[in-house]
Symmetry: C2
Subunit: 399 residues, 2 copies
């Protein structure tokens, strides 16, 4: 049968990035000693009050069609939060609920990109960006962050990447996989370029509530950016709600209107009981306290891992400022990222992702997710400690 | 800002079709005497065992990422049901869970259509088909059913609509809005054309469990059709689960693989607790019994409405074989469909949809949804009885 060319755009190599993860989850069913550090799914339960809220809503018969854009009270709360944190003036009319940040990224791309367009993406970037951009017929133009300098923005490279075909700049801050945040001066630089060249900016901020150090800045609050910024966020990470599929896009009213037309034929709205749960997540003190507790736990885990890697001269790791991931440069081990990940899995039953999937610039790195409890994390650190000496030996030989 | 041309394709006139419905739902907040017969949202609650199943799942922490294609047990059950009813041999590998039949229609269109393609749609058709098809860059080619002859397939018109650009034939059986089903000989005719011209067939069967008379036939079971048919279904109508956003596509394995790649960047799966509820809907005897009770209730309501319209010579109505809708030809009233709907709303506070939105061929019709309880339905029939005499008078004058 004849398929649309779009089907080619969505079957990129990056789909294979999960192979080691799938192998590990499959093995873990038979062997509980496997430690999975390859996925960004929090090990926490969704806060109880959030679950209770969904249950109350379900019991009350909140199982019918809802407003396509999402419930007013929820969008109002999201608008108020965003205004408070970003400084951008918004109302609920600037907000649309979608089925997770992934769906928001997908839908936004459909509304702004077309064949011939170029979308600049700061790399490393989350794996699905490529498919979201290229399925529209646009081309992804990678701009590598400076991996030698704390993943800072390489301003010259970014400027040089802009052409007459440029339509948008995509990034995540905090970043998955690096956990680094764009500084205000970097965002200001991006904003000036976007204004000069009339570009959209798609700012994925799903880790903005999981910040350990530094200040999260939303580019939408900078002068001249409200009209051209799409801010994407969700509750998946902040509230351990990955499976609920609830997220949103914030942008100019005209964009929200287009996204609403798109949602009408793509989704037909989000379940009411999911939206009630989301409202509770954003307003209930217990839910907010649990979210904060998760943040502190991620921070403690990050510290433990950073301490582990600091012991091994073949590994280097910039402590991430946020998120639930860190990148480790393994190039001094004598193995490339894929080999390192394979060896760690085969010898120590720990699954991590070769970060090649997030962009060429991180091909020397592995991504580690710290979404396991303290006992497993300690175990993982010990296994890494016993795994590394072979490479110390190797390195000595190389000298 | 510069938007993608896709945003034009999704803001068709049909979006305005809901104006009278929105006006009515807004008025109903202040005036409970408004009767809303303009939407296809069942007035029933989701069966209790289905809700309980979601709650059990939520309480057990089933709130994390799930398999992109959907849970194996659920897809197995759907495959078994489809095989039993259609005769097509399928396994779970032929099934993918998506966020409702709407999402399945959207995603399928993206995977099979491209700019320059023509997609033939049997009309009247559900409103969102246009956006789903045209956002891919393809053109919707309408083929009107014979409204003068029980909405039967006009074989000559269908044959004549096929060109070298034809890529797919879309239809719903049972149909929304007509409630009529394609007969086996009609489906056989469509199948032969599809095979001869190497076309996809997208068969929307969301009302296949709400059949009053006649046999629902799935085109996927006809010779040579398994490889080219995408069967779309959901639980929204059969189990009063519109707000849950759960549906699926059944098709060749290669298509399911493409849909899975698409879902990875579009949705990232469906909530686990929604899938558990869906599994219960399809397997629990109480849930199935409730679904059957709903069907019988729709049938009784249809009979009541048909009896009402039979009294009024200015109205003609073919009793639908299935669904929760019926079409009434109002052309003998002296008003067009929009005028009739407006007058009925203004004078009698009943909202119905002018069926113009479903295709030119039904521009003389209004669509009535029977999703209100017996008391309201009786009230609606009485209001229609008192509304009609003015047109009888009009008609006498015209003679």
């Amino acid at each position: 049968m004849r398929y649309a060319p779009l089907t080619q755009a969505i079957q990129g190599e990056t789909v294979d990035a999960w192979d080691i993860h799938f192998k590990a989850t499959s093995l873990k069913e038979r062997d509980p000693s496997v430690i999975i550090l390859s996925i960004g799914d929090p090990d926490f339960d969704t806060p109880a009050s959030v679950v209770d809220s969904a249950i109350t809503s379900l019991r009350s018969g909140d199982t019918h069609y809802v407003e396509i854009e999402g419930r007013g009270c929820l969008r109002e709360k999201i608008a108020a939060n965003h205004q408070a944190s970003s400084g951008q003036t918004v109302t609920k009319d600037n907000v649309i609920m979608l089925a997770g940040a992934q769906n928001a990224l997908f839908a936004s791309s459909l509304c702004i990109l077309e064949p011939g367009d170029e979308a600049i993406v700061l790399q490393p970037n989350y794996i699905t960006y490529e498919a979201c951009i290229e399925l529209t017929g646009a081309t992804l133009v990678p701009v590598a962050m400076d991996t030698q300098n704390h993943f800072r923005l390489d301003k010259a490279t970014l400027s040089a990447a802009i052409t007459t075909h440029s339509k948008a700049i995509y990034f995540a801050t905090p970043s998955n996989p690096s956990g680094m945040m764009l500084r205000k001066d970097e965002l200001q630089f991006i904003a000036e370029l976007a204004i000069t060249h009339d570009l959209w900016v798609v700012s994925d901020e799903v880790y903005s509530h999981t910040v350990f150090e530094g200040e999260h800045v939303s580019i939408s609050g900078l002068d001249g950016m409200a009209e051209r910024t799409i801010t994407i966020n969700s509750l998946s990470k902040s509230h351990a709600m990955t499976g609920w599929r609830v997220g949103w896009a914030i942008g100019p009213i005209e964009l929200i209107k287009h996204l609403s037309n798109l949602s009408l034929c793509m989704l037909y709205g989000l379940p009411g009981f999911v939206q009630q749960a989301a409202y509770t997540a954003l307003t209930d003190p217990d839910a907010l306290a649990e979210s904060e507790k998760m943040r502190l736990t991620y921070q403690r885990r990050r510290d433990r891992l950073v301490k582990c890697f600091a012991k091994h001269p073949q590994l280097s790791c910039i402590p991430p400022q946020a998120s639930m991931f860190l990148l480790v440069n393994v190039s001094q081990s004598g193995l490339n990222a894929q080999q390192f990940a394979d060896a760690l899995f085969e010898q120590k039953k720990i699954s991590v992702l070769p970060a090649t999937a997030f962009g060429k610039c991180t091909s020397d790195f592995i991504r580690i997710s710290y979404v396991v409890d303290d006992v497993q994390l300690e175990d993982a650190c010990n296994r890494i400690d016993s795994f590394m000496p072979q490479f110390l030996h190797l390195r000595t030989l190389q000298r």
